[in-house]
Symmetry: none
């Protein structure tokens, strides 16, 4: 309806797709709804994305990258590895509420894990997160913020794992208010020097 360039339109469509995919899930979501939600007709969707699945994959990739970028931006703000980790945690606690849809989408994707394309996106996402955190931890160890006896690869996976299970609790509505705080404080306690 409203005149837009191809790029703009595509962005609007992706936004709409995120919403619809998250509200329902990949299978239940209808291309028609994505179109309607973006104030366009269905064929327009197909002008920009070759198929529903393709649109889904693009959306998924984008979400994953956005999440990573969000963390990277947050990290860039501080110089202290410990502070960086704390900022990431804060950012996550924010995400869980503000970007609920994105979160849900990432989580739901596991249901489509049998699709090799989906699997790769998810796996890549996990591995990138692992690497990001691992680097941060290594950096922190080198600079004396964290104990020298920790295994940064393991602790990275554990850290990301915390995000995962908190998300799961959140979506299932069994997450209590202070659990997340308690969790990450316990986590940090395990990697910083005993006072």
């Amino acid at each position: 309806m409203a005149r837009m360039t191809g790029e703009e339109r595509k962005k609007v469509l992706i936004k709409s797709a995120i919403k619809v995919f998250a509200e329902e899930n990949y299978r239940a979501a209808k291309v028609a709804d994505i179109a309607t939600n973006a104030d366009v007709t269905e064929p327009i969707v197909y002008k920009h994305f070759s198929s529903k699945k393709n649109l889904y994959l693009e959306v998924l990739t984008l979400i994953m990258e956005k999440t990573m970028k969000r963390f990277q931006n947050v990290i860039a703000k501080s110089m202290n590895p410990l502070e960086k980790l704390e900022l990431i945690i804060k950012e996550y606690n924010l995400m869980i509420h503000v970007f609920r849809q994105e979160l849900k989408l990432e989580f739901q994707a596991v249901s489509e894990i049998d699709d090799p394309d989906v699997k790769e996106i998810i796996a890549t996402g996990y591995l990138s997160s692992f690497k990001l955190v691992e680097n941060l931890l290594q950096e922190g160890m080198d600079q004396g913020y964290f104990r020298e006896d920790i295994d940064p690869a393991f602790q990275a996976k554990l850290f990301v794992g915390h995000f995962i299970h908190v998300s799961s609790y959140y979506l299932s509505e069994v997450l209590e208010d202070d659990y997340s705080e308690q969790l990450f404080s316990y986590y940090l306690n395990g990697i910083v020097h005993d006072s």
Copy 2:
């Protein structure tokens, strides 16, 4: 084809449903496949379950209960709370491979969390697990196996959370062989007395 009593057939159907729902996912799974897989025709499925969704809910409930029961059985074998916890971990590591389908089903269910029925089943499952572990931890504390300064409610959620994220890694094929072992050893280390 092969004549069976209602009870038998229902069991076979549920088994088939678990397989098909797990292999695809609730939406992608076709009732026809569930039927074929159970060597019957579609109407038989509807004689035993009022609808696809209902079958799904029954399957989900059953799986959840089965998982709980498995843990309870395991616990019953030993008297020592610490050993019990270790047995649960062992059982889980077994489950992850032997009952891959059940695991996947439980995990995928989060994609259908918008359905109130599904949400309740999942939430109930989580809360039961929390309770089971919390009781175990409390018992262990009382008997001097675990440190007196731990918060059993928190540690229970953390413990279950470990299962969740390990499952997630497993399904996404980013789970490395020794991670699970390392994880739970780290966990136990955090709750038993320092030597």
Copy 3:
């Protein structure tokens, strides 16, 4: 369930069929419901009637005959043709309420009129009614109760037609209380001698 002879069972089944066919209609009625309603299993229905359609035809025939018989019985009670006619009218006004289901069934059958078997039953029913009334009218003319210038064949069809449209009004719930009375009084007025 309850032991019965073939004949008894068949009667119970027909009763049940009348109810179910009338409540829904031939197409919407389910054999399963007819069976349940008669406290038997479906195969029993097929032991007594070769098919749903056949059961329907038997039911229809029976209803038609019953209606005719009801009128004949009523007629037999009085010797005076005019009184006979009045008794038929009374009987009909009773039927409309007490045998609502039968009435409805007869009426609904027109929807299946494309079926030659159904058509024959209905047509036969109409023609018998015509004959019954025509004879009555003729008799009344001969005995001086009715005017000699009436056409008994025509008046018979008109009389039966009154039943039909009143039924139609009744089923559509546009029948007002005194219409039927007024109608038949007007009818009689047209055939008896002017006073």
Copy 4:
């Protein structure tokens, strides 16, 4: 197949629906047949009508309105109430042959009278007809065409009732050629002044 605008297609579909619903009956009619008959595929039907039942209701309403309109048009042609009545009768005798399907549809609808939507349409149809005729009769009385002692409300219902039972006879193939003529001539005789 042939490209059409929405409006055009809808008209074609309704025409097709009338045919198919009339030939079979609401239950027996298949949406697929309605589609095929309109030279389109099934989904097109569902693009224009939300469900089979809805299509049926629209068709029924339309038919009823069309019948009413036909009578109204006929009436508009003449100024004399008596002539108007005679024209309506003529129109009806024409309808019975030319618009057989519409007639059949209206009649069959009583089989679905348990559906509140259907009931309302039918009842409304009857009541409108009553009103139309009643007004005509009243007008005729005022202008001295009909006897002053007739009850126009009653005579209107009787008149419409004649249509109903004639339709019934026609569909059951027991209608003889001259019955309708005789019937309405008898009817008119009852309401015009004795000569």
